[in-house]
Amino acid sequence: MEILVGILNYFVFFSITAGIYAVVTLGLNVQWGYTGLFNIGVAGFYAVGAYTSALISGPPPGSLDWRVFGGWMLPFPVGLLGSALVSALLALFIGWITIRLREDYLAIATIGIAEVLRLIIKNEAWLTNGVWGIKNIPSPLLGPIQGAVRSFIASHPGMPPWLERLLAGAYDWFYLLLVLGFLALLYFTLERALRSPWGRVLRAIREDEVAAAAQGKNVASFKLQAFVIGAALMGMAGSLYAHYARFLSVEKFEPFYGTFIVWVMLVTGGAGNNKGAILGAFLIWGLWALTDFLSGYLPLTDVQTGALRIILVGFLLIVIILFKPRGILGEERFVSRLLR
């Protein structure tokens, strides 16, 4: 029973992270899957969201901190919206510069902004506390839920230890519901948007920009909208991450964890398909967790197993693009109910 509870608790922890990744992947799906915008700086928008939320809803700087700004302790929803807004503004800026240019330029500009943001996070300690990171970011309703669980355990003496352990993980269950609820809301909204005239214009632009323009659509404006909305979703995912991890530091926003694995998730699940984006996030995060578990049995150093796992994911991306470019689910051919 104890082991079962341990597995269950791990499963909850795993699903929260995978769920947050699914939000990022849905954001990338709006950009790449719907519209064909190549954003290789996902980590930047994700990081901006996480740090914005930490500044808005996080604790004020402590006596040992280097940072002197932010920490207003505003409620979590304010932080969530704030991170969407700041991330969207950043995307507006990058998009405004590059959206009319060829797709390589957007790729180069996005990888650049992600790298510059990483440097800023590392070096501007007055804002981000630098390499020391931001600590003690509050999780929404953590106090009340833990208090209720504690008083429940106290008022029921003689509880079996496995049940006590299960209840102790109650907050993670709550956070999982929060993430999955957000994910579900997002999924239905995006499905509606994809099937709306707006979403169909995005697909048309992806397939043939000139034809879409000839139909009188303002191509640049639609692309910019998709780019900004996708970035806002990435920012919100960053906020969800910050309030779950409660600690932010620059390593979590390295190109592999912040950008590359998200691309592999989307391409594996099926670009252009929202179900595929979510499936890909859970599958690839599962693969990542599985290889972590298996790497303990290999006679290699930690650096080597880490490298090996990334090589595996990289190969997976290459193989999928070459041999199964539509991913597992693939895109639906017709999204309009009038065309069935």
Partner: protein, 304 residues
Amino acid sequence: MGPWERLPQLFAYGLVSGSVITLGAIGLSLTHSILRFANFAHGDLMTAGAYIALGFLLVFQRIPALRGHFGRLSFGPAMIPAFLLALLGTGILAIAIDRLVYRRLRRARPVMLLMLSVGVAFVLRNLILFSAGADPYYYSHRIQRAIHILGVRLKVDQVFIIALGFVLVVLLHLFLTRTRIGKAMRAMADNPELAQVTGIDTERVIAWTWGIGAALAAAGGILSGIENKLITPQLGWQALLPLFAAVVLGGIGSPYGAMAGGMLIGITQELSTAFISTAYKPAVAFGILVLMLILRPQGLFGRR
């Protein structure tokens, strides 16, 4: 010394790092002009070159006749075969990757190749990390005293880097203008369909492009290793942003533009350190890139 007095010295450093960036940027621009995609794995080809040279250097240093140093340089005779074999090896590596990966998508949209290159970049970097480890390596521990030239202080290594960078650029120019294959490359960059109907073997041109571009990248990687006295698996990745900035500055797909762009980016990056933290060197490159995209996206010398 105030920031303004330091500028001549920083300008000299800029010529050194500009030479390294130029070598990387030319290859990036060459592959873009022929294959029409931004190769995000190009920086990692630089890293591969630096490590292949390191491997051969360790072998050749066992030969007594090849030990020692050239004058005041930090390396000796063993570096010559190691350097040449690394250029060759990296060229072959790039051609092999093309045959295994990119060739399968010759007719696909260029952005799919771009995505593939991101995958290749992560695989390549981590293969190097897997086999060589995360700890930094050095070609040599030799400490050099700076010499005075024209009022600035440079190490002999740095003078060598500028000179070799210049020689390689001239060689590339001769290759592009005097040889059949070089002319075919330029023709294909101008108009691939027209090149094909005039009987140019496009696959052969593509192979040469990868080979030359990767060899130059390897040279850049090795020179960066000599200059910074530091070889890590992140070497090329960290250079990627300045490389792209140089390529965009010179006009994507124009190797001559990449030369000018590389020097300009190198010099600007070093000059900026008089005023802002050296940690922001890549951000300076990015700033130039953004300005360029706003003001003149076709680059200084590019056509629309």
